[in-house]
């Protein structure tokens, strides 16, 4: 409820900026297979180069509206935000998902066509906006499901996983799978999933690997130090606070004493 209140509050503060994609009700019966309920988009085809029967018009949903063909710019608003999606019911989200999915397919088709024809694809950021909206939508749905499962069972209900070491001794997140037989009976699983490490070779590899990482860090540290020294010599009036903010691990006091940090100007 708190989340809902927050969402309502946010919507009040919301500026009247644009939302991507018209009409939540564009595809009211996406999932039903009945043909007649579906709202056909009837593009105003201005020429007779498409020989399609009326039933077949749905394939034209893979293309943009004819008025946008060959245009250099197709303006759209921003993507859906999580706070806006939290206001919507499950069925609305379900419909919106398919609207977004169709839009994404359309954009990918148009991008491919433009690439083939050596033309500029107008506003390629639309793809990112759709993707962002879909990610937000999915996370909102998962949020709701997690709340239900936490309330009913005390668990998140998400796919479990854990951090494990692989044979090389490197840590990774193992996402678990669902099986009908217990682990000890599953010989094939044990064949493919080898966790944990040991032995001389692995330990030597890890030692060298750690050395490599340590060297990378050391180089980064030295690089930062040198950069600060150059900054001090190049810009004698540099804001020390800003340098501290940008290079938090560099000791400025020691760098100030360096000769190369002094620069070719008369000290005041």
């Amino acid at each position: 409820m708190a989340a809902l209140m927050k969402a309502v509050h946010v919507s009040k503060n919301m500026n009247n900026i644009m939302k991507l994609f018209t009409n939540l009700s564009l595809t009211p019966n996406v999932i039903t297979s009945s043909k007649h309920v579906f709202l056909h988009r009837t593009p105003a085809l201005h020429c007779a180069f498409i020989h399609i029967t009326p039933d077949n018009r749905d394939l034209m949903e893979f293309f943009d509206e004819p008025k946008n063909w060959g245009r250099n710019e197709v303006k759209v608003g921003r993507s859906w935000r999580k706070d806006e999606l939290r206001l919507k019911s499950n069925s609305d989200l379900h419909k919106l998902w398919y609207v977004l999915l169709k839009e994404r397919n359309m954009l990918m088709t148009m991008e491919e066509v433009c690439k083939d024809e050596n033309k500029i694809f107008p506003n390629p950021e639309r793809l990112d906006k759709v993707k962002d909206s879909m990610n937000n939508l999915e996370s909102v749905v998962r949020e709701r499901n997690r709340a239900y499962h936490m309330l009913e069972t005390g668990e998140t209900g998400e796919r479990p996983g854990k951090l494990v070491y692989n044979c090389l001794g490197l840590k990774f997140y193992h996402r678990m799978h669902q099986y009908i037989i217990p682990k000890y009976m599953n010989r094939k699983w044990h064949k493919w999933h080898k966790f944990g490490f040991g032995g001389f070779a692995t330990r030597r590899f890890l030692r060298l690997y750690r050395e490599k990482i340590w060297n990378q860090k050391r180089r980064a540290r030295n690089r930062d130090k040198n950069r600060v020294a150059v900054l001090m010599s190049k810009f004698p009036n540099v804001d020390i606070e800003a340098v501290k903010q940008h290079f938090p691990n560099v000791d400025l006091e020691t760098i100030k004493t360096l000769k190369r940090a002094r620069g070719h100007h008369v000290p005041e």
Binding site: C47, F49, I52, N56, D58, M60, K102, E112
Partner: protein
């Protein structure tokens, strides 16, 4: 899922799609029927191997990703022709308009100055 322009000549009732590798024929059939409301007779798929080419910069051999291509067969009485999207497309700037404005600018510049009380060669 992308609709592809057929490279070779194709029957009028066959449409090509590029779909994700994980999709099966049944998935594609359901996808088209449920989401796009399209009648489908048959779906055939193939996995097109990505081209192998030499990288211009480093000279290394690079292979593009494989992709799954689906041939969706519509009922006999239906047909689909890939539309010509760039039939009346205009370039960013029109060459003719550009030349016209250029010559106009030049004539404007070369023209004598008609401002009263000033010599003809005077420019602001």
């Amino acid at each position: 899922m992308k609709l592809l322009k057929p490279k070779n000549k194709q029957l009028a009732n066959v449409v090509q799609f590029h779909c994700s590798m994980e999709m099966t024929k049944f998935d594609i059939k359901n996808y088209m029927e449920k989401i796009y409301n399209i009648d489908i007779i048959e779906v055939r798929t193939r996995i097109a191997m990505g081209r192998t080419k030499k990288d211009q910069l480093q000279g290394s051999i690079i292979k593009e990703d494989d992709r799954k291509i689906a041939y969706v067969v519509l009922p006999k009485d239906q047909s689909f022709v890939f539309p010509d999207l760039f039939k009346d497309a205009k370039g960013e700037f029109d060459e003719e308009i550009m030349n016209e404005s250029k010559s106009k600018d030049l004539q404007e510049y070369v023209k004598e100055n008609k401002a009263p009380g000033l010599p003809g060669w005077f420019r602001i």
